[in-house]
Symmetry: C2
Subunit: 219 residues, 2 copies
Amino acid sequence: MRVELMQGILGDNNAAARDNRALFDEHGILAVDVMGGPGCGKTSILEQVVRELRRRGITSKVIEGDVASDNDARRIEQAGAEAFQINTGGGCHLHAGMVRRALKQMDLQNTHVMFIENVGNLVCPTAFRLGAHFRFVVASPPEGDDKPQKYPVAFRDAEGIILNKIDLLGHLPFDAERFWELCTELNSSAPQFSVSSTTGEGIEGLCDWLLERRSKRQA
Amino acid sequence: MRVELMQGILGDNNAAARDNRALFDEHGILAVDVMGGPGCGKTSILEQVVRELRRRGITSKVIEGDVASDNDARRIEQAGAEAFQINTGGGCHLHAGMVRRALKQMDLQNTHVMFIENVGNLVCPTAFRLGAHFRFVVASPPEGDDKPQKYPVAFRDAEGIILNKIDLLGHLPFDAERFWELCTELNSSAPQFSVSSTTGEGIEGLCDWLLERRSKRQA
């Protein structure tokens, strides 16, 4: 019975994810789902990316998923992008139905890129695809270089891996080479980005990659 | 039906938690459950605490909960304490039945303190008590000072709050005063500890508190 129930939940989720994908494609929006542990810097990266894309004339919007509070949506709006806050009220991940309800309330005209920031969690979001074209997983030096070994599904199933806070490398016992080797072992196809949401290092390269993917989808 | 199922799962968990508590009390063991996000330094704190308790002639043991890998159990054993690794195989939290199975395989004689390190996650472990006498939640400056607002249940329901990595204060945009105010708003009864698992600052005070609680329980 438990298995059937789980299949039912995942089936509902996948149907909503397909609706979301259709909505993104209809509006020519590149959608990116961002997951990572609490405090790895998901929102800080998005603040930088949203600003950099805006400098290039690209409009991005952000759906923020949190257990509670609208802190992150307010930060994104201060960075100059429209943000929609979802509070899961205790839930440990977003599901596609939540995103669908958010999308119905957002203006999808003149939107080039939609970011969906998942709840800070390296486990639960893995099973629930949201309809985005790419899922990025974010890690950072304070979390330790063995995170890919400890949360393998998050890294194995990602379509992009970001190591944030590279400005802290050298100040903490974190072996970046080992981290990237573990990532490559699990997932040799995901592009790897090293960025600092504090100094902005690497953000331009990440934006180049996103816009290149967006062009390819529209070609 | 979903509600009934959840009540059934929680009922099973609570029964196993009561068994665990009885086992701890029977052996005069103080049991402490440690939760926190990935990379907040749960294992690093336990390495320090285990060493400090050992210096005082106190034998502690550790049950390590991880999605995958036995990295943490190996670290604890290098610090000089027996460790039992539980791999949840995808599960986002420990439940009391897993701990009960671990306890059955451990030698509980001559054990003064049992630590149970939960899966790195600030959401899912909250609903599943493991039978420990105290649950500690750990946070750290790289995660941001608004974590209590974003994961309120984890902080509200803790019997102790640890701010780790205080050696990084001043190097990161983290307002410790604000962090502790938010903690106090949610939970004015939990003792608050500031420690550094790198320098060892604050570890002695934390051990003093644990041993005091242990004496009180035995009085």
